[in-house]
Amino acid sequence: MTTNTVFLLFCAVLLVLGGIAFTLSRAKAARVRATGTTMHAQPDQYAWFAVLVTAGPALLVSALGAFVLLLMGADIPTFYLLAASLVIALIGLVMGLNQVRSDFHARRAIEGVIRKLLAAAAMISILTTLGILLSIISEALRFFQMHSFWDFVTGTTWNPGASFLSAAGRGDEGGSAAQFGSIPLFAGTFMITLIAMLVAIPFGLGAAIYMVEFAPLRIRKAAKPVIEVLAGIPTVVYGVFAALTVAPLVVDIAGLFGLDASYSNALAPGLVMGIMIIPFISSLSDDVINSVPNSLREGALALGITKAEMVRNVVVPAAAPGIISASLLAVSRALGETMIVVMAAGMRPNLTANPLEDMTTVTVSIVAALTGDQEFESAQTLSAFALGLVLFIVTLTLNVVSVFMIRRFREKYRVNNL
């Protein structure tokens, strides 16, 4: 028998056992009830409890077994494992039937199990974070065993290997040893993020201020969905737009001024990323500005202050923690954004302040390191995890600070919808 048929058989038997447990215990409970004894629960609840004790432990054992199998590489044949589970299921069935007694709280027992199940589901999010952390940290540690952490943090040459160089058209230098100095990558990332923020913050904030403070209801109702559409466009689509439309445009315009721009200049992905982040900033700021209490606005207007003065001197300062928090989240998004830069930014690590030159970013390097035909154990592949670790720490810090700021804002105005 193949594993698949064994598995199917196991499921079928478990299903049948569950059915038996249900009917038997239900009938028994009904009988007890018919004698006039008051029971703590309904027959159906006893029946479900029986099903639970039959199937639950069996499934748990088989899943655990499978996990151990994978983890330890231990050699328990699947057949024995499943058979053992079925035995456990049978024991459960007998116990379940036994529990059909008038003094047993079947409903309470079921709900206890449900509650534990729900709590277990909630733990998955923690496991995910742990998973990200552990996977990234362990691989990054292996990387730092091969290459010094200090060089990684302070080095200015990112030169992971010959294959990478030839891809970048510099194959003749391929003989030199791999170097992993991440500064040029972070410089590129920050440059593109900076450009993106220079676009996104004024536009996003401006649009939010207009929508909350100035726009008639009609326009507000029409503009919100448009902005939401902008937010729903996949990043790969923005990437295409940056690479095919904006980058050549930047080159042409730079040419008009007699400047020489690369086709994979940093400006194009930066601009497009900024556009991508506009809706993000505008909808968060919109919420924040909206929750500045109206009494402050009235207080200002009643003093004979004009609307713009009110916005600038009262509303925006009051909303500042929220706006800063939105901007920090936006920065974190821009740092981790991948597709736009993979498609439109360059592949060449380049330490420069000129946005018209090509430069590469952390995320581009991660993708480049993991998409070649590299071995998983190679330093180049592992370097992706080292970069990922730094990215994770930076974005996590930004998020935590942002959450802290928004909480202060919320406490100040007792707003609960943020």
Binding site: S125, A207, V240, F392, V403
Partner: protein, 388 residues
């Protein structure tokens, strides 16, 4: 002592001008953002529209022994270079499976080569002069024209642009999304129910909440690293498969679903819970019979939005190898597969202008699906939204 209205108004003039300036500037920000959307969509439509058309040529195909051996012989020598090689390749098999064709000559429309296609669309001219003349003659006779491109919707990827389509990517997307939703919908809803309805207010609950908020802001590429290190290297899930892609996206979508489900649960007023407790329901019964049914539309809306987000995601899938060359669709969740955004990415990196067109065409299809999903979510929300 106080000033008259006239005096004050005169002083105010400058300030009013400044106020108006701010209004116009912020309005400009909004209009420019909206204008970008227009520019962007029209750019994609202009680029992508030709992808829905494909040059076809009407030729006489002779099914005989010679063409069985050498498929190129099935059509006239001078039209031969105009026709897609993808047409010739399956000819022998076609004749084998349908012996009645043998010995007949049929006039049919066949897919033209991509150079012809690009020439007819006025994009680039890479045809030889002789071929061009033949083509001109065919066009004048009405035997070569641009027709609706069904191939684009029925085939998988191909190295020949005229045969490349999004079908296998679309099927890959469906399979991946099935895995994603099968995993993250139940877990997400259960987590949200636990946090909203059951969880005690203790440190652990707070940690879970903070953790979910942070998870929502983790860059998506890091989920790809997790998928690579844990699913593929550790658990041995097959690389490039919808299974690994779906599981990776599931973790990424989880916070979206949890957060929106919690919002939906929170919008159910406590009076409903109190009423149910009042008639002797247990907590679980209250949730199952009263809170969940009422908040279901909100939960679905959030899930659809999460689904749309996952559907457009590319970066983590690149890391787990889902940018593969997949000519034939497979409906298994363990076979190598690709998804629509990844297909767009692959095409975008082809230098050929025929593929640039496919890229934009694929984008239009993807955007149409996403806009449909979002509209569905909005419709659901508006139809079932209750004000308490």
């Amino acid at each position: 002592m106080s000033q008259s209205f006239e005096e004050i108004s005169a002083q105010l003039k400058k300030r009013h001008r400044r106020s108006a300036r701010m209004k116009w500037m912020t309005m400009g920000a909004l209009i420019l953002s909206a204008a970008f959307l227009v520019v962007f969509i029209s750019d994609m439509v202009v680029r992508g529209w030709p992808a829905f058309q494909q040059a076809q040529i009407q030729v006489e195909v002779s099914y005989d022994e010679q063409s069985q051996k050498l498929p190129l012989a099935a059509v006239d020598e001078d039209v031969r270079p105009l026709i897609s090689r993808g047409f010739f390749r399956p000819l022998p098999r076609k004749m084998e499976s349908n012996p009645a064709l043998m010995g007949t000559t049929q006039t049919q429309w066949v897919i033209a080569d991509s150079r012809v296609d690009q020439y007819l669309k006025g994009n680039e001219d890479r045809l030889r002069p002789a071929d061009k003349e033949t083509l001109q003659a065919l066009v004048e006779e009405g035997r070569a024209e641009l027709k609706f491109n069904t191939t684009f919707f029925t085939t998988g990827d191909s190295k020949m642009p005229e045969l490349a389509g999004i079908a296998s990517a679309a099927i890959g997307t469906v399979m991946t999304m099935l895995v994603t939703m099968a995993v993250c919908f139940p877990i997400g809803v259960m987590t949200a129910v636990y946090l909203e309805e059951f969880a005690p207010d203790n440190k652990l609950t707070q940690i879970i909440e903070i953790n979910i908020n942070n998870l929502a802001a983790v860059p998506s590429i890091l989920f790809g690293l997790l998928g690579l290190a844990i699913y593929i290297s550790f658990f041995g899930v097959p690389r490039s498969s919808p299974l690994v892609g779906g599981l990776t996206l599931a973790l990424m979508t989880l916070p979206v679903i949890i957060i929106s489900t919690r919002a939906a649960l929170r919008s159910v007023p406590d009076s409903i819970r109190h009423a149910a407790f009042g008639v002797g329901c247990s907590r679980w019964q209250v949730v199952r019979d009263h809170v969940l049914p009422v908040s279901l539309p909100g939960i679905l809306t959030g899930s659809i939005i999460g689904l749309a987000q996952a559907m457009g995601e590319t970066a983590p899938l690149i890391i787990v190898g889902m940018v593969a060359f997949i000519p034939d669709a497979s409906i298994s969740i363990t076979n190598a597969s690709t998804v629509m955004p990844a297909q767009i990415f692959t095409w975008a990196s082809e230098p050929n202008s025929a593929f640039a067109e496919k890229t934009a065409g694929g984008i239009l299809v993807l955007l149409a699906v996403l806009i449909f999903l979002n509209a569905l979510a909005v419709w659901l929300r508006n139809k079932f939204e209750r004000r308490w």
